[in-house]
């Protein structure tokens, strides 16, 4: 069985659980619990362990999606996810500049612990207060377009949008594999 494992990460409320639920062929494993601390102000429940979704596209091939815990605690679960992941997508709400710090923190954490390819998915881009993607990249510390991960607009509620984001991630992974072989 050949399995690609993708980690879906991002700050609380970026749409990680929705992203996985929208594309998964199985009922996602829901580990949402009543939120505590400041997360409760944003949403009543949050993912305490991880979300899991699956796409089985042939008897011997599948794509697994893992969502990181919502609350910003980098515990052993993150370690397990990073060890297994082939690639990850960092979801950021374009209209919530207060989340850019957490997104930057997650991005630095992932970059320093793993070399797997990533894509930045910007959600809520249609909101009037949304920052443009180019500006979000700078706010996350990616100053130059050179060497910056690909950025895509994502609507976590739309299957085609989620699929497009995953395709971009897979293409990024394929390019990194080809580069490693050269």
């Amino acid at each position: 069985m050949e399995i690609m494992r993708i980690v879906v990460t991002g700050p609380v409320g970026a749409g990680k659980s929705t992203f996985i639920r929208t594309i998964s062929e199985i009922e996602t494993v829901d580990t949402d619990r009543k939120a505590t601390d400041e997360t409760a102000q944003l949403k009543p429940s949050t993912t305490v362990a991880m979300d899991f979704g699956r796409l089985q596209f042939s008897p011997q091939m599948a794509l697994h999606l893992y969502g990181t815990p919502g609350q910003e605690r980098f515990d052993f679960m993150w370690d397990i996810l990073i060890r297994k992941a082939h690639a990850f997508i960092l979801l950021v709400s374009s209209h919530r500049p207060q989340d850019f710090r957490a997104a930057r923190r997650i991005s630095a954490f992932m970059r320093h612990r793993s070399k797997v390819p990533m894509v930045i998915g910007c959600s809520h881009v249609d909101r009037p207060e949304a920052w443009p993607m180019e500006e979000i990249a700078i706010a996350l510390g990616y100053l130059s377009p050179h060497g910056r991960p690909p950025m895509v607009a994502v609507n976590a509620l739309e299957r085609s949008s989620v699929a497009t984001a995953i395709i971009t991630l897979i293409q990024t992974y394929a390019e990194s594999q080809a580069t490693a072989l050269r």
Binding site: E2, M4, R5, I23, L55, F57, S58, M61, L63, R73, F74, D75, F76, W78, D79, I82, R83, K84, A85, H86, R96, P97, Q98, F100, R101, R104, R105, A108, F109, H112, R113, S114, K115, V116, P128, E129, A130, W131, P132, E135, I138, A139, G141, L143, R159, S160, A163, T164, I166, I167, I170, Q171, Y173, A174, Q177
Partner: protein, 284 residues
């Protein structure tokens, strides 16, 4: 381009870092949401406007009437108002006013520098004391040449000055790096800005493996003090925080190659298959 928010979401230091690193040109409007926004050294005004050119601060005003620099010249007694009026009649408006006045030998370099100090260098660091404020950056706003001395200041330097002056860190407490985080340098050379003694000691301990807590222990200073210094260095774009996993067994960051062992490469047939499968979903 919509760049706006509240300091409680995105602090002024982070806004400055964004504008400097993004080499932005335009007008940053700042509105205090703080009841006690009247601060010494800061002109009392409902809004402050900072003008950026390629990421550097070139002017600061409290109105958009293009009269601010003229008023400063008058206040300092450099020119009589009637003389200044006559000079302004000759000002072509196609260069910073300070450059024009210097080129006409009306003001000298030192006077221009003092004007810039009074307009930008002295008041702006005090904006960091606002507990809450709203910011809006307009990249389409033309630069007000009549407000410009021709000098510029690095937001990095202003941020350092502002955060050093800050006494009440309450609004920034949730933005400080965590005590058990590692701090990693983002620059290869020693800092170009002048660091204080303790700032320099902290900087010297930043090696990509030592946590904030460990730095505090080694220097025998409070963890919070090191967190504040690291935050200053972070918003100056010199370092970044790397959070550690909170489990005791994995608190030391494992090398990347060790962590990659659970993962095997994927075949091209797999990748082609999944892309084709997903493409069908985008159209379906």
């Amino acid at each position: 381009m919509k760049i706006s928010g509240y300091f409680s979401e995105f602090s002024l230091g982070e806004v400055f870092r964004f504008l400097e690193q993004g080499q932005k040109t335009g007008c940053l409007s700042l509105k205090s949401m703080d009841e006690s926004h009247a601060l010494p050294f800061l002109p009392a005004a409902p809004e402050h406007y900072l003008f950026f050119r390629y990421g550097q601060i070139v002017a600061a005003t409290t109105t958009l009437n293009h009269q601010g620099l003229r008023q400063l010249i008058e206040q300092r007694g450099y020119l009589h108002p009637l003389t200044l009026q006559r000079v302004m009649n000759r000002y072509p408006g196609n260069m910073p006013l300070g450059v024009f006045l210097k080129s006409q030998a009306i003001l000298d370099s030192q006077q221009i520098q003092l004007l810039f100090k009074q307009q930008v260098l002295t008041p702006i660091p005090h904006l960091f004391a606002w507990k809450e404020g709203y910011f809006h950056f307009d990249a389409q706003h033309p630069l007000p040449l009549a407000e410009m001395t021709g000098l510029s200041a690095s937001p990095q330097v202003i941020t350092l000055a502002g955060l050093r002056l800050l006494r009440d860190w309450t609004p920034l407490m949730d933005k400080l790096p965590l005590a058990d985080s590692t701090i990693v340098s983002l620059v290869n050379e020693p800092p170009s800005v002048q660091l204080g003694k303790i700032e320099w000691q902290v900087w010297e301990h930043i090696d990509g493996t030592t946590t904030i807590q460990q730095i505090a222990q080694r220097l025998n200073i409070a963890v919070l003090e090191v967190q504040k210094i690291c935050f200053r260095l972070m918003v100056m774009g010199m370092v970044e925080e790397v959070v550690n996993i909170s489990s005791p067994s994995t608190s030391e960051p494992a090398p990347v190659n060790e962590m990659d062992t659970d993962r095997t490469g994927l075949s091209s047939s797999f990748l082609n298959g999944i892309v084709a499968f997903l493409k069908a979903k985008t159209s379906g």
